[in-house]
Symmetry: C2
Subunit: 449 residues, 2 copies
């Protein structure tokens, strides 16, 4: 080991482990040490709602590789280890073994911060038994155990973003009565109102008690959760799941004097270099370049984290690579409704000071005569004057996520709505109408820009 460079990775989930694995492949001599605070590494946090629902029967299915697997590849992963401080001048981290509470120091030549995000903890009562976040495998297991042992009948979900919506589905699947409480006038703020309304209709259809514009004041209970006080009303609850927005977990960076950027995330260049020598950042703790307005942004998503981790690894291993940036693509399944978005919503375009036009169409997912077609809503956003495509939002019961990706590809290329409207897209009666809903929407948008 003497003489070899040492990479220390803080965080063993998407960004941290995609970086460690690639660095291992690219530089066989690198000494790689990963510290993960929880008892699991290399897990899919996006799978947690499906673990709670029982769709995923056992949590081990969410873990792609165990520390033993990684050890055999030459990646040393230490679970239950929390890095508590970084001395960037000395090139050392201070790390605590959470099981023994013992602290020690470990030197590094390169340090990758992949500390992820942390939930904003917005109201009193969060520490009552029966109140859960959905961040770690432990969270998922704890919710599942609470359901199986305590048999709660009424759940309140705080937050109508991706995780809140997926948890609403999971808890209804488990037979609970579900109230979903959203601070804003609509759920899923990353889509515009006319798409959010489809999600809200789906929630109501499956019997979710939806409360919008409803700020949570506190959670109350006698030794365990009993009710949520929100919008001036007390809502009975024997299980509370908090799925509010994520902030970058930047405490290590702040403590070490590593400069922050967009949304409080670690400021990085396109090579994922922080503004301190030999320090890198990737994933939910790092900022991101947004291709649509070319500004640093904060986009905490697993896809972005994995890509950033790979780019960091290449640069650490000495091969120059740049992160291509995001266009803001995401998708979610809410009961039978699939919703996806990419680029800028109409609201985001306005916030970015772009003069945007929008067109919304509802068209069939398959040929009109082919059984099983369902309505597909497509909203396109484009820049007035230039016709430059800015974004798309789709909702329907099939063919949503990958149609969103067609627009994501068009956004990567800087296409106009005219160009999108001329795309040679596939057609067969079971898959699409002869004019794909994207093409219909593009034609509609051409008239607006």
């Amino acid at each position: 080991m003497s003489g070899s460079r040492r990479l220390v990775v803080v965080g063993g989930v998407a960004a941290g482990l995609s970086a460690a694995a690639r660095a291992r492949r690219m530089d066989a001599d690198l000494d790689i040490l990963v510290f993960e605070r929880t008892g699991f590494c290399s897990y899919s946090a996006c799978g947690l709602p499906y673990l709670v629902a029982g769709v995923v029967p056992h949590h081990t299915a969410l873990v792609a590789r165990t520390p033993e697997d990684l050890g055999s590849e030459g990646i040393d992963v230490r679970l239950h280890h929390q890095v508590e401080g970084v001395d960037v001048a000395a090139g050392r981290v201070r790390v605590r073994d959470l099981r023994t509470s013992r602290e020690r120091e470990e030197p590094y030549d390169e340090l990758l911060l992949a500390t992820g995000g942390r939930a904003r903890l917005p109201f009193p009562g969060m520490d009552l038994p029966g109140v859960f976040l959905v961040r770690t495998v432990e969270d998922g297991l704890a919710i599942r155990e609470w359901i199986e042992v305590e048999r709660p009948e009424r759940a309140v979900i705080v937050g109508g973003g991706y995780i809140g919506l997926e948890m609403a589905e999971a808890l209804r699947t488990r037979g609970l009565e579900v109230t979903l409480v959203e601070l804003l006038p609509h759920v899923l703020p990353l889509v515009d109102e006319e798409l959010a309304e489809d999600v809200e209709a789906e929630l109501v259809r499956v019997g979710v008690d939806l409360r919008r514009s409803c700020p949570v004041e506190r959670v109350e209970g006698n030794g365990r959760v009993g009710r949520v006080v929100a919008g001036g009303e007390a809502i009975d609850a024997t299980l509370v799941v908090v799925g509010v927005g994520v902030s970058p977990d930047n405490s290590l960076a702040v403590g070490a004097g590593v400069p922050l950027g967009a949304g409080g995330a670690v400021a990085v260049d396109d090579g994922m270099r922080a503004r301190v020598p030999n320090v890198w950042a990737a994933g939910d703790c790092a900022e991101t370049r947004h291709r649509l307005h070319d500004r640093r942004s904060y986009v905490p998503l697993g896809t972005v984290a994995s890509k950033q981790g790979r780019v960091a690894a290449a640069n650490i291993a000495g091969r120059a690579e740049s992160f291509a940036g995001v266009v803001g693509t995401a998708a979610v399944k809410v009961f039978d409704l699939h919703v996806g978005r990419t680029g800028l919503s109409e609201r985001e375009a306005a916030q970015a000071g772009i003069d945007a036009a929008a067109a919304t169409v509802v068209h069939r997912s398959r040929a009109h005569y082919y059984p099983g077609w369902t309505p597909l809503k497509v909203k396109l956003v484009a820049e007035r004057g230039t016709g430059r495509l800015l974004g798309a939002q789709l909702a329907g019961t099939e063919g949503v996520a990958k149609r969103v990706d067609v627009v994501a590809a068009a956004l990567h290329a800087g296409a106009t709505v005219d160009e999108l409207g001329s795309f040679d897209l596939s057609y067969a009666p079971p898959f699409a109408p002869v004019w794909d809903p994207l093409l219909i929407a593009a034609r509609q948008a051409q008239r607006q820009v």
Copy 2:
């Protein structure tokens, strides 16, 4: 009507009617007359296998608009009218009413040839009762009637292209024993061998008797079809469906001295102008610009026909528009297998003289822990040296057609495999793995180019 310009359209299906409808909207004064040889206009030929299968219960579902509908919009459609000659010097067509056999002449100011394709009739015995093409609504109704009245038990399908494969599914659905006879070593020649093999395995799985490298010599029978002689063997058959390749129906153009181009199709510019004043062509009788090698090509598909018809209409109405060209996208459902392709196959790239590399991966259609995932095969073709993406082929049971379209969008933009590999594609466990199979394939292809 005096003083108004007159557009005569020959052919009332995809290209002809998309042109007529748009010309109507763009020029309220235009006198529009459409001649259609069959008894139906504005129908989906791609729906015919589903009519035969019974998935579409009634043929009227395949007809988007009747002559009455179109008449009320100011489009005069004459069914059972065959245009038999064009006098381009005089600006007149000679048209025969097939029900009365009477001929007359009709003047035009603008003439759009949308005569479509015609099946190559490759062997003796095609005229025996029980032998059918799959081109018109009448063909579909005749096959259905033959099945219901004659109760054939054994069918032979000649040709393993899109229509042959869809008809194999349709006839198995109707309970017939099916033999599929293909001249070439593999079915579906628009995809490379490793994808065609998946289709062949699916055919075998559902009990289709597949004969490859098997040239049909003739169809025989005593007053009606009794057997197909192919590959030196007699195959019993009481129903024969011929789905061999389509050629442009260029007889009118040839007779009128309108120059031909790629594959014997009418030569056109990007505005769909033929090389004779006031004559236009669109759809399966017209050539097409292929964006991948920028050569005129022959791509007889409904999507292309509809787009070309719209472009022709704009130019006829005086608004300059160019057809953006095709990238060669198509998809087909073969029983439970979905297959799609776009761009150039490895074989086509070689034929075009391009030094191409390819990468084929098999990956999951959803997150590995999400139930119901199935294997998805992705083959990417790219130019060696430049890394320019040339094409993709996919096969699987879900998420195929629109993933093909993601690559189609990338091809429209002239993207490299590096760029495809960096695309910000959507992710949620029910829709895709965190690394979409397209991204995995792109990474694999990066190593080959």
